[in-house]
Amino acid sequence: MMKSLHIEAAKCTGCLQCEMACSFENYGVFNPAKSRIKVFDFHETGLKVPYTCTQCAEAWCLKACPVDAITKDKSTGAMMVNEATCVGCKVCTIACPFGTINYVADTGKVQKCDLCEGSPACADACPTGAITYIDADSTGIDRMRTWAAKLENQTAGHAD
């Protein structure tokens, strides 16, 4: 089954465990600056929003890369950056409408979320369930369930 990262911003507390888990998984260091998932704190509303690559089915970054350094991983569906091929031209960072692929000055390459070979560290680390890694074809299932439950109450009410 193909899975994808599912984000429910309303559950996020802004703890940044996900950012640390990401940097630790990929660089062995606790460093949000190196994280591929970013949590935005909109303090005026109190909203915290985790944001990362959604692995587009037709990925702008992949199409834009002039040296074909970005390929799609068949098992996870993640767009993968092949560091050996990447020339650091940054065209993909321009092409991506969401800003989720970024240049890393230290390496001279770009980085993006690669779904940790099918076991994303951010989802594992998230204490609130704001990030989960679930069936890509039914990411809406919980929301459907919530609304379905309301309907059930109404039906029960009518039956009385």
């Binding site: 507390t13 606790f30 460093n31 303090h43 109190g46």
Partner: protein, 615 residues
């Protein structure tokens, strides 16, 4: 090792920033943050130093677990000699700033001297520079944060700053980071202001590497997080209700200091409780509470984010207060509310916003207003002096005083002195509910006897965060003791004080101790840091830190006479509730406490004790 092994020393008089190696021998003995920074402080500063003079120093310190995946590993402390108390001061804050400092590659910053004119410190990884802050002076912390991000064109800067209270020498001025997290108590912000230092802006992209045993560390931190998640307080109560979960509980047990400690139960507690924050308002149908929020790395997330009712008298036509911001914690709700008999939730929230905006401690402020209101009721202070009628229960007086204190206008500067100096000035020193000059927090020692001893002996003056026996006496953590009993409390207080010193030195939040004991902390430290962080040694480290602080205070002129409580608590019995008829039984506990600590009858550590603790 989880330390960065690097200190930034800033000489504000000379205008220089230099890097030096962390003293690892001291780190092995004092761990980090509170313990380690206090060690530097007592080695470098004379106990007699005048707190607001250039000779005093100000240390911002992280712990070894700050900036790691240990839950709540985002804390920092500010250490100095406090102007409110004249004792050692150490105030702890969460938010994101502490982790950012660590990510920039520094364990701590030692600030000394005094700048000739206002400056701020900018740190970008290894580079630290002082800049002119004259354009920022007179601005609130809420204005300073966006202003510095704009100046440096860096939206990710984390900022710790003072508001006008710190500039104006409010003796309980706080240091505020991330808009509403505070190193709140003992006036550390006033010391920062006295040094002409407006802010410290940090950007750190180096991260924390070099964990001693990464695999063991991930395992230990995961196990510890599971303990927090599975605990009723840290897993359910705090995320849902915040520390406000305590309001109704403490009121019911008759330990809710009310109207400057005249009463021990507040009839309006339910109106300012966690439940009230969740309930839809009559005016706009929205709840005061918007959401909860975590500090860096925290899997508890007790923080409150609130929005004011736009039609409330405090903020009509003031849209700058309509956005979400830091809501009421229990201590603030108590001090701004029960301590003054005020039950207007929106007024308390507004006063709390103002405390954050201009950087002052809502506990000391609220408790001082309580004394002012009592003096007003007695006719000692008048409407003409105060600028407003100020009977107990007046929300209008409370919010007016908050504004005056923030701006340094009207009667504000007098309230900014704290209740000890203020009540003495007006001839009623007995009405100051303080120990060593610092106002009490939200637990009445007549109803929770152990807290009386904890307040009397706290090294930074009356405080709940130095030995929170409420956990045991009310909540049964780790074992239930009878709150009305004095027996056995000496040992309990000592145990809490020593353990807390370790939590405060590790880089983690003391609220974890609702669920964790040192048994949960030790494996995380052992995996992260070189050195001996076994349970046995942590107990010694905690006790060592406590005694080091005590010795500083003793050398600064404090004696056993200062381990005392105000007359009211010792002679006026609780009028209602389970503690009805009781006074604080300090005299029964104090001698036993000295003995437990290995101190002489004057409260001085004996030679044997000092030797045992390698002091």
């Amino acid at each position: 090792m989880a330390w960065q092994r690097k200190i930034l020393r800033v000489d504000l008089t000379a205008g220089t920033c230099t890097s030096e190696a962390l003293n690892m021998d001291w780190a092995m003995a004092y761990l980090g943050q509170r313990g380690l920074a206090t060690k530097y402080f007592v080695e470098e500063v004379a106990p007699s130093v005048e707190p607001l003079s250039p000779a005093n120093k100000l240390i911002f310190a992280t712990g070894p677990l700050t900036g790691t995946m240990a839950s709540t590993g985002g804390r920092y402390s500010v250490i100095t000699k406090g102007p409110l108390t004249g004792a050692i001061a150490c105030s702890n804050s969460g938010g994101y700033w502490g982790a950012e400092l660590k990510m920039a590659g520094w364990d701590m910053i030692i600030l000394e001297g005094r700048a000739a004119s206002p400056v701020y410190l900018h740190i970008e990884n290894d580079t630290a520079t002082l800049h002119d802050a004259s354009a920022l002076w007179g601005k609130t912390t809420w204005d300073v944060e966006p202003a510095l991000r704009k100046i440096h064109q860096d939206s990710q800067l984390k900022i710790s700053s003072i508001g006008r209270a710190g500039e104006n020498g409010v003796l309980y001025a706080a240091v505020i980071n991330d808009l509403h997290r505070a190193a709140g108590r003992s006036g550390v912000g006033a010391v920062m202001g006295s040094k002409n230092l407006k802010a410290i802006a940090v950007r750190g992209t180096k991260g924390v590497a070099g964990i001693k045993d990464p695999k063991a560390f991930m395992k230990a931190t995961q196990a510890a997080k599971a303990v927090l998640a599975g605990n009723g307080v840290t897993g359910e109560g705090l995320p849902k209700f915040g520390t406000q979960v305590l309001m109704n509980v403490i009121n019911e047990v008759g330990a809710m200091p009310t109207r400057n400690f005249r009463d021990v139960q507040f009839e309006g507690a339910k109106d300012i409780s966690a439940e009230a924050m969740h309930a839809p308002r009559e005016t706009d149908g929205k709840a005061n509470l918007v959401t909860n929020q975590a500090c860096f790395g925290c899997t508890i997330a007790c923080g409150r984010i609130s929005k004011l009712d736009q039609t409330h008298y405090t903020v009509v036509n003031k849209p700058e207060y309509w956005a979400a911001s830091g809501g009421l914690e229990y201590e603030a709700a108590w001090a701004l509310g029960s301590a003054n008999g005020v039950n207007d939730l929106e007024a308390l929230t507004y006063a709390n916003f103002v405390c954050n905006e201009d950087g002052f401690d809502p506990i000391s402020f609220g408790a001082t207003v309580g004394a002012v209101m009592e003096l007003y009721q007695m006719g000692v202070l008048t409407k003409e002096q105060l600028g407003i009628e100020a009977p107990f229960g007046s929300a209008k007086a409370l919010t007016y005083f908050a504004e005056c204190t923030a701006k340094g206008e009207g009667f504000g500067p007098e309230i900014g002195l704290g209740s000890k100096r203020l009540t003495a000035k007006y001839g009623h020193p007995d009405l100051s509910m303080t120990v060593k000059g610092q106002e009490f927090p939200a637990y009445d020692p007549r109803g929770i006897q152990g807290m009386g001893l904890a307040y009397a002996t706290s090294n930074r003056g009356a405080c709940h965060l130095r030995g929170y026996t409420v956990a045991s006496e009310i909540l049964g953590i780790p074992v239930k003791t009878d709150p009305l009993e004095t027996d056995g409390k000496a040992g309990l207080v000592k145990a809490f004080q020593d353990a807390t010193a370790v939590f405060d030195s590790a880089g983690i939040c003391v609220f974890t101790s609702f669920a964790w004991t040192l048994v949960d902390v030790a494996p995380q430290l052992e995996a992260a840091c070189e050195g001996d962080w076994s349970l046995d040694n942590l107990n010694v480290v905690g006790e060592r830190i406590w005694n080091m602080e005590r010795q500083f205070n003793n050398a600064a002129g404090f004696t056993n006479k200062d381990d005392n409580l105000p007359k009211r608590l010792l002679t006026e019995a609780a009028k209602t509730g389970p503690a009805k008829g009781l006074v604080a039984g300090l005299d029964k506990m104090l001698p036993e406490y000295y003995a437990e600590r290995g101190w002489d009858t004057e409260g001085r550590p004996t030679a044997t004790t000092l030797e045992r603790l390698s002091l």
